[in-house]
Symmetry: C2
Subunit: 430 residues, 2 copies
């Protein structure tokens, strides 16, 4: 019951991190969330409100009064406001922005100049930016105050705010207190442009082996930094998106999203799938006369379709990952296609022999075995070709192959499989 | 050609990180790899040899002489030897271990005491461990030498090697040079047990907001640390595994894995799929007489099967993620099942009306429309039930639901869909 859950929750109160509290609220049926939510202290609620998924937060907003929501949003950092800006009603967003101090509000506006696909939108402002006119002693004072996580460097700027170098913190410790920072050797800082694409920037930070990289605008002005933690979060979100897309779920579907929003999200995908399923049916319908005379063909159709679908998805998965890692070029695509065709030919020969034999034992017809064996072999070759070529094509059209590749592929393998199988059947069995 | 590629590579030589070089080698057809490999300097080769995928490394080992391989392995850190230990032939592993110095070899042996599923196997030894008997001045000297990445704390140990506290580096800067570390207040360090499960440890580090957590053995002896970078890598590898498993690929399949190993990996999955496909065919075969009289049923079979499969995978994906996040309990599973059944009922009613109408327009038979509409509705409800219950069942049997859940689910929706559709057809249409 709700009370029991609340008791368990309360005892967990001390040991829970806000992310975990957010996950717990998401895991509760909608009608029990408010009971549990109110047993936790305000500080925990405030942190979890930012951490939780969009659908759960949206549901919570409908349960709470506006004043309660305002309170949850009254002490956010600019990073947090940017994180949830697209996901809360505009009256709440306005209030959250109003609660920021002037310098933070300026950073918020800076972030809005970049699209959500650009790294400039997602900067971390807990950096240590320091003027090159200062002395080493001032920098050491900053150090003693304590640093934000993921800080191993100071970012040195000139009077115009242009990034002139990076100063590793342990180098600072070896320097004389009276030295001006401009007199220290600061190596040219590796930097990323704020307009750059988010996932490319994430790759760059992870590859750099540094805990964060500085981000600059077109005129080399220092804007903020991008940490390795954010970089990994971005990569992980992209992978989760890929898993969701493969199943036709929207990115914000959660365990207890409302029935109506879940049904809508998933219904759209079912509709797309229905079009391709009826297309396959239409092609089968062309062979009605044949099916009526050789019912065994109808019985065996699922075998032809599913072998093609599985084999094609295997190729597709390998190719989509290769594209994501930037490993696929015009030069090696042809070689890849040859390799995939060889793999499919090898599996095609082996499994069409197996399938042909089972069919012979079942239906006692040599011609039928021949028909299904040839259809399987042919369908696996079509599957390999589609698995290599569809993502390339979608990429050229700027469509994410992880999203729609699988539907297109199985439509093709279904239709080709049925047409070849039933077509050969019509030719050889009637 | 290989020469062109080599020229491009060579010009990229300066700007490439070793990870990128490894990805490039993986992206080359097998017969061109050696040409490109040899144009790069030894230092780059050594780093990339550790970074590259298992299949590519294995292929490279067959191309190089043992002496060349020995050279690549002669300057590894203990972390690197541990990383590739399971993936290289034992004569090479022996050599790599021989090249470690005594203290590193001891760390290697320490790692081998833990299974590869335990966090103790994957520790980072670039920590800063410091005896509580030392003075602040000694700690500051260490600091000036430069710290390993992801270091924000010193781990303080007593004379027995037991972890007694953590010392934040910025706190150190505020302390008097003559103070003994044992006299400084070191907060009780949050710590993880080395025998703990790897992915749980990764979650703990990420949730902690710290750059690394210290790892101790059963007797609280400090063994090493686990950094947030490793934690994110572990999480990402698990997700990649999940994507691969869903397509029936083995984890080590790469773009240019050899034809024979690709064919073998994927062939096994095709075989499993074949069993389930023939099972579905067998159930269809039970209705041969019906199919012969009402061919329209054969034509429409793919619609029933694919709607059930898609809907079931959607539920399955939501549930598998919920399980991975620890959000699914005995208490909320029943509520989840109700929710998923409601979503399926809603979509079932809508789409069975659509499908029924299309069927009526196509085949001009009210009874046939009724049969397919009922079959669709029923199959979506079966799909929702299976999507919730199968992962729970597999979890209880200690089988990863991400691996085999999808096959079992589509087998069930296929068979139930066909039986209901053809069964109703037999009852109402003959």
């Amino acid at each position: 019951s709700a009370n029991e859950i609340a008791t368990i929750m309360q005892s967990a109160n001390d040991t829970l991190a806000p992310d975990q509290f957010a996950l717990l609220i998401e895991a509760l049926p909608q009608n029990k969330r408010l009971d549990v939510w109110t047993t936790f202290p305000t500080a925990m609620q405030r942190a979890a409100f930012v951490d939780m998924g969009q659908a759960t937060r949206g549901h919570l907003i409908t349960l709470l009064s506006d004043d309660e929501c305002f309170d949850l949003l009254s002490q956010l950092d600019v990073d947090e406001v940017i994180e949830i800006a697209e996901e809360i009603p505009s009256r709440l967003l306005k209030y959250a922005i109003k609660c920021l101090d002037d310098s933070q509000r300026k950073l918020y506006q800076q972030a809005q100049q970049f699209s959500t696909d650009a790294v400039g939108h997602w900067l971390d402002y807990n950096y240590v930016r320091i003027s090159e006119k200062l002395k080493v002693s001032s920098a050491k004072l900053l150090l003693e105050k304590g640093l934000a996580p993921y800080t191993e460097d100071f970012y040195v700027v000139n009077k115009d705010g242009v990034l002139t170098g990076i100063l590793a913190i342990n180098r600072l410790l070896q320097s004389d207190n009276d030295t001006r920072l401009s007199a220290l050797f600061c190596p040219e800082a590796p930097r990323l442009k704020a307009s750059g694409e988010l996932s490319a920037a994430a790759d760059a930070v992870i590859l750099s082996g540094k805990m964060s990289l500085p981000i600059v605008d077109e005129n080399e002005h220092f804007l903020g930094r991008f940490t390795v933690a954010t970089a990994y979060e971005v990569k992980q979100e992209l992978q989760t998106e890929q898993i969701n897309n493969a199943a036709g779920l929207s990115t914000d579907e959660e365990l207890f999203s409302s029935v109506s929003s879940s049904a809508k999200n998933r219904g759209i995908w079912l509709g797309v799938n229905l079009v391709t399923a009826f297309l396959a049916s239409w092609f089968i319908g062309l062979f009605e006369a044949t099916l009526q005379q050789v019912v065994a063909l109808a019985v065996l159709m699922p075998v032809v379709a599913s072998m093609g679908g599985v084999s094609g998805s295997q190729t597709l998965t390998v190719i989509v990952r290769g594209l994501a890692l930037g490993q696929i070029t015009e030069q090696n695509r042809k070689v890849l296609l040859h390799k995939e065709l060889k793999v499919s030919a090898l599996n095609g020969v082996i499994w069409s022999l197996v399938i042909g034999s089972i069919t012979f034992l079942w239906f006692d017809s040599l011609v039928l075995s021949l028909v299904i064996a040839m259809a399987i072999l042919f369908n696996l070759l079509i599957a390999a070709t589609s698995g290599v070529m569809i993502p390339a094509l979608l990429n050229k059209l700027n469509i994410d192959p992880a999203l729609s590749g699988a539907v297109i592929l199985t439509t093709i393998t279904d239709i080709f499989g049925f047409v070849v199988f039933l077509g050969l059947g019509s030719l050889l069995l009637l």
